[in-house]
């Protein structure tokens, strides 16, 4: 699905990613954990194509294609989805209108005709149920006046509508109460197939009780310093990040 090799990225003069190596295969869920400032959000932004960052070294292939050469919209059309940590409010652009535009542009990219209005509405109805999103919200402007939990559910709703191959959930659990967390996690679990993959970026272990990862990676100071299975997340939760910091500052020092 995605192969990240020796990825380095900077913002201005400051190098944030210092050589990331990661391979995610179809059907897998990978969790990336790490303390604040370790580069988790930078990694998701770089993969989605945010222009604030400069990739200085390394390569990323997505289903055999060079991801870093693609525009943000083409990455999405190829099947990459980023659930934002802080979803943007866009007054005046209706959720539905925007999603219809997105779906049709993705379809056009793959040489398919625009979706029929009735098929689109049926799809909206089905996916709304999946994330228990109020029908009123889908007709409103994108995220405008949504609560924190509603914004995150809207991200998962959009993901469900677009059916990406690879979804990156960037701290989707932040700001969620336990009920919203369960809804979001259920949505992800129901969307999981043998043909798609997820990268779940999180600071805490609790989301991983609901979305069980196949692999857990610890990102620290711009590098993946340790990889393992779901037990690694529990170990991290028990010991805290301080031990990791201590351990790797020592080895680097």
């Amino acid at each position: 699905m995605i192969k990240i090799k020796n990825l380095h990225a900077s913002i201005g003069d400051k190098e944030i990613l210092k050589g990331i190596n990661l391979e995610v295969k179809a059907g897998e869920i990978h969790a990336i954990m790490g303390p604040n400032g370790s580069g988790k959000s930078t990694l998701s932004s770089v993969l989605a194509g945010r222009e604030d960052y400069d990739v200085t070294e390394g390569e990323v292939t997505f289903n055999g294609k060079n991801l870093l050469e693609m525009s943000t919209e083409d990455r999405a059309r190829e099947g990459l989805f980023l659930a934002f940590q802080y979803p943007i409010e866009i007054p005046g652009v209706s959720n539905i209108n925007f999603l219809k535009t997105a779906i049709n542009e993705i379809r056009a990219y793959h040489g398919k005709e625009a979706i029929e209005a009735k098929d689109f509405l049926a799809l909206v109805k089905e996916k709304q149920k999946l994330v228990e999103l109020d029908a009123k919200l889908t007709n409103r402007s994108v995220n405008e006046g949504f609560s924190g939990g509603e914004k995150k559910r809207n991200e998962i709703f959009q993901m469900a509508m677009l059916e990406p191959k690879l979804a990156i959930l960037d701290e989707t659990d932040s700001g969620l109460d336990i009920d919203a967390l369960r809804i979001v996690a259920n949505g992800v679990n129901k969307l999981r197939t043998a043909n798609n993959a997820f990268i779940v970026i999180t600071h805490y272990q609790r989301l991983l009780d609901h979305i069980v990862p196949d692999f857990v990676h610890i990102l620290y100071n711009g590098k993946i310093v340790k990889s393992g299975t779901k037990e690694l997340a529990l170990e991290l939760e028990a010991k805290g990040y301080d031990e990791i910091k201590l351990q790797f500052e020592k080895t680097e020092g």
């Binding site: 943000t72 919209e73 934002f84 535009t101 997105a102 990219y109």
Partner: protein, 424 residues
């Protein structure tokens, strides 16, 4: 300087006088005053405080140096694209009301006449438009075409909108002075669209409308400016709002090399409400200059203004909004907002709120914002697969819709959406 100015004015006066009939509906004293004012003051240059960004004297010198007043006849097929199915369509062609091109629908409670039918000493025409207040009002008082008079009689709520098409077609550089007088009698209601189009060669259109909204009456009106790339226009609206009345106006500017809007509202009756909304999209070397005045003369009134601009290329947008709260106008609520998006580094937006408040118990506020298209919103849309162009269009449409939503005539709204979509 004075001598140079009067050369421009002299030339215009000579050119127009040669072709124009004497205006019958402006009283002789006003006509003398109009010519005198033009003689003394000329067409304003950018030295004039109110025309700082809009040097119209220079425009006449450069663009209308061969002014000849050569008009084409307007036919039914010229007008047809601008008619609205659900409305009563009236046509003012090259400044003159043309009954033959207008709909022949008789609706109870409306009087429609040409301005010349209101000649005589008791004419209301000009009562809201003193020559001494502005050169373009003076120009209209002196040389107006035989425009349109609409009166909605007491207690009549007109069920369909009125669509006035002001169409100009000239064969060579010409100045046209279309004019209207709209009177809404007590407790009457109507929606009126004034639509400006031009075909043919370069034209300067100096439009003047007087609007009288009497007690408890409601006038919803729209100005739609789509005169084309080559046209120049000054549009003046002189409005008087009476007790318990509502005036709700929206101006949409789609095209025009230079468009100057002077919208002056005299709030003369208590408990009235006046709203002015505007949307303009500019590109190339266009200049769109909106000047508004809300003159609160009496207590307990509300006024609202929302002007939005999308300014691209090397174009210039201007919003100058003056709120004048007189000593007696206690309990005034006056709000003003100007929001703008600059699409290029060479585009310019000048915005100037002017509040002059002489009463002590009022609520007045103004806000202005000018920025680029929101990059975070753009990235969010693209991250969902929406292409750059579509994403920009979605965001600009969202920005414009706040004003466009004021347009309540369905077919007009759809036309505007289509035209705006080409400009985003």
């Amino acid at each position: 300087m004075i001598a140079e100015r009067s050369i421009t004015t002299q030339k215009i006066i000579e050119a127009i006088s040669a072709k124009a009939n004497k205006v019958g509906f402006v009283i002789d004293a006003e006509l003398t005053e109009a010519l005198q004012f033009l003689e003394n003051n000329g067409i304003p240059t950018n030295k004039h405080e109110d025309y700082k960004y809009c040097n119209l004297d220079a425009v006449f010198k450069k663009e209308f140096k061969n002014i000849t007043q050569d008009f084409n006849e307007i036919t039914n097929s010229d007008v047809k694209p601008y008619k609205l199915n659900e409305a009563i369509n009236l046509v003012v062609a090259n400044g003159n009301y043309m009954e033959s091109l207008s709909d022949k629908i008789i609706v109870k409670g409306i009087t429609i006449k040409c301005l010349n039918d209101l000649s005589g000493n008791n004419t209301p025409i000009g009562s809201l438009a003193a020559s001494k207040s502005d050169a373009f009002i003076a120009l209209s008082n002196a040389f107006s075409g035989n425009g349109l008079y609409i009166e909605v009689q007491k207690n009549n709520v007109i069920p369909m909108p009125i669509n006035i098409i002001y169409i100009n077609s000239v064969n060579a550089e010409s100045l046209i002075n279309p004019r209207s007088f709209i009177r809404i009698q007590p407790s009457a209601e109507v929606t009126i669209t004034e639509r400006f189009v031009s075909i043919g060669k370069k034209v300067f259109s100096n439009f003047l409308s007087e609007k009288l909204v009497e007690e408890n009456a409601k006038l919803t009106s729209y100005t739609i400016q789509e005169e084309g790339k080559e046209s120049f226009a000054v549009h003046t609206n002189q409005v008087k709002v009476s007790r318990n009345a509502t005036y709700d106006h929206t101006t949409i500017t789609l095209s025009g090399q230079l468009v100057r809007n002077n919208h002056n509202v005299v709030i003369a009756g208590e408990n009235s409400r006046s709203d002015l909304n505007g949307l303009f999209l500019t590109d190339g070397s266009q200049l769109v200059d909106n000047h508004t005045l809300m003159d609160h003369q009496v207590p307990n009134c509300e006024s609202n203004e929302l002007y939005k601009g999308v300014v691209g290329g090397k174009s210039i947008g201007v919003f100058n909004g003056k709120i004048f709260v007189r000593k007696d106008a206690q309990k005034t609520n006056a709000y003003q907002s100007s929001k703008n998006i600059l699409l290029s580094d060479d585009a310019t937006l000048n915005t100037k709120p002017q509040l002059e408040i002489y009463a002590n118990d009022v609520k007045c506020s103004h806000g202005t914002s000018t920025g680029k298209i929101d990059e975070n919103a753009l990235f969010y849309l693209k991250a969902r697969g929406v292409g750059d162009e579509s994403a920009r269009k979605l965001l600009l449409a969202a920005f414009a819709n706040e004003v466009l939503d004021k347009i309540q005539i369905e077919s007009l709204r759809m036309h505007l959406e289509t035209e705006l979509n080409k400009l985003y």
